[in-house]
């Protein structure tokens, strides 16, 4: 009969209307500033730069390779390379970012910068209350504001952070092994050279084996 569906629907909405006053579990919404839903671990909002150690500016992992700047779909990252080099966490001499800005109003939280970064230096943060009162300067986030410690990363994304730490440990171990091998090879070469020099004095030094 015509109208049966309407009556059924009206009954359903009436049940919702009255039920929402009776049983609190019907109300799925949360009273936001007072109550908050705990975020899932994979939650992501806005990137940050990871640093190791105590000094944020010295410990930045970023080497200003600009891959993220090129890959960023909305082009919201702006990097200026430094003029000098400094020792990075692997103990190698690297550039560092003199300027690293991300425009909060343009960023779309796609996480591509994180995916492309070969140095585990940019990660996604979970903080979501990012509004400011200054819509020009306040939304341009510089490297001082972006820098957050590795402990913070471990805190917000434990699983990812563990993977990232493991990857870094492998890198560092490789680098150290290589450095050690280099030193040993050098030492060996030097020793051989010395020995050769001792035996046959007038011979040109043999070039160090390329590794």
């Amino acid at each position: 009969m015509l109208g049966k569906g309407i009556i059924k629907g009206m009954a359903e909405t009436a049940r919702n209307f009255l039920g929402s006053y009776v049983s609190a579990e019907r109300l799925t919404t949360v009273q936001y500033p007072e109550q908050r839903i705990p975020q899932i671990e994979k939650a992501r909002q806005f990137p940050f730069l990871v640093f190791d150690g105590d000094d944020p500016m010295k410990g930045l992992r970023c080497v200003a390779c600009q891959i993220c700047e090129k890959e960023c779909p909305p082009k919201c990252i702006y990097i200026v390379k430094s003029k000098d080099k400094r020792v990075d966490y692997k103990g190698q001499m690297q550039l560092y970012p003199a300027t690293f800005d991300i425009d909060l109003s343009v960023c779309m939280s796609c996480q591509i910068c994180v995916e492309v970064c070969p140095f585990e230096s940019i990660k996604m943060d979970t903080a979501y209350e990012l509004s400011t009162t200054d819509r020009f300067g306040g939304l341009m986030v510089n490297k001082h504001q972006l820098a957050k410690s590795n402990e913070h990363y471990r805190h917000i994304h434990p699983t990812d952070a563990a993977a990232s730490d493991a990857a870094l440990a492998v890198e560092v171990a490789k680098a150290q092994a290589k450095a050690k091998a280099d030193i040993e090879a050098k030492a060996k070469a030097a020793a051989e050279a010395k020995a050769k020099a001792a035996v046959i004095t007038p011979v040109a030094p043999k070039p160090v084996a390329a590794t």
């Binding site: 009969m1 015509l2 009206m10 909405t13 919702n16 209307f17 929402s20 006053y21 109300l27 919404t29």
Partner: protein, 402 residues
Amino acid sequence: MTESLDQIFVTLKHWLLSGFENLLKWLEVAPPDWLMPLVSMVLSLAPILMVFPALFAITTVLERKGLGRIQNRYGPNRVGPFGFLQFAADGIKAIIKEDLVPRAADKIFHFIAPVILVITAFTVYAVLPFGRNMVAVDLDAGLLFFFAVGAASELAVFMAGWSSRNKYALLGAMRAVAQMVSYEIPLILSSVAVVMITGTLSLTKIVEAQSTHAGLLPDWFVFTPWGFMGFALFMIAANAELNRSPFDLPEGESEIIAGYFIEYSGFKFALFFLSEYLSMFALSGLGITLFLGGWNAPFAVLDFIPSWAWFFAKLLALIFLFIWTRGTLPRLRQDQLMNLAWKFMIPMVLVNLVAAALWHFTGPGWMRWLSSGALVVGAYMLLGKPQFESKDIGKRTYRFAD
């Protein structure tokens, strides 16, 4: 006591009027002829201009809270106690917002369209009886006045849509006008049944015709077969006239953004909302007057409650009905809208007129219930069947992406 409470507003007006007269006498000013009727008119109209916008303010909050509860949300609950001051925040926002007018717009019509809409929405209140002896202008042709003024609002809607020079606005206006013209026929014809029975176009006389109590039920027209069907058709047509959900095609947010008032902002936008709600109250008031016994109490025992309180109680009940349907039914498609009007409502309303005539000429007794009721129910089954019977298309199956 009951009598004085019932007539408290009428007495207040007379008291103020005589006070004004005495003041003039005391000042030794001879009032010109036109002054006293003017003052009387102002005293009648001022309460309407205050009460209904206030009711609009409260209704906006109640509607949002009600819709929220229907969808298992809280609704506004921040501004003021339980969020009831939300309307103040909305109003302040609307007033201090920038008033944008498109460069290509027809400036004059763009400006006067909301003004005309609000004026027509207010004007119809002149003939509505809010209580015993409480009607601003007791017109002989009150019902005709109501529909005549209401018809003028269609032109204002069209003006708003056309003058904005926006394709969505124009589409919305075309839809609105087509819809309002189609549904005006069932709206008026369903009221004509009442006019046939009472033999008058005066709204106060229509209310008086329903003031008796016969047996258990009061003599309201809604408690007759034709009256019940008439009331249902009236409310559906009123819903369509008001462009409210499920008939909100002219302003369907998902299709044409806001329809004919897309290019309005700030206070003019608020005026559109004001007029929409004022029309809703007015049409509800007319429905109450025609079918729900106006300001009459349902039982003689309850006569001690003042008549105006009954009117407003019924008004709030109908407002709740509007909110309830809005929270329940999804928007119709354009062809469904026209089908409903032309294939169901108009034939039904014509049959309803015959049922009312049968009721009138059969005379008291069970025969009139039987004949009139059988006609209405039979027509309902017959007309409702072919187009609206849900065709059995089997259980819906879903296919998900792998």
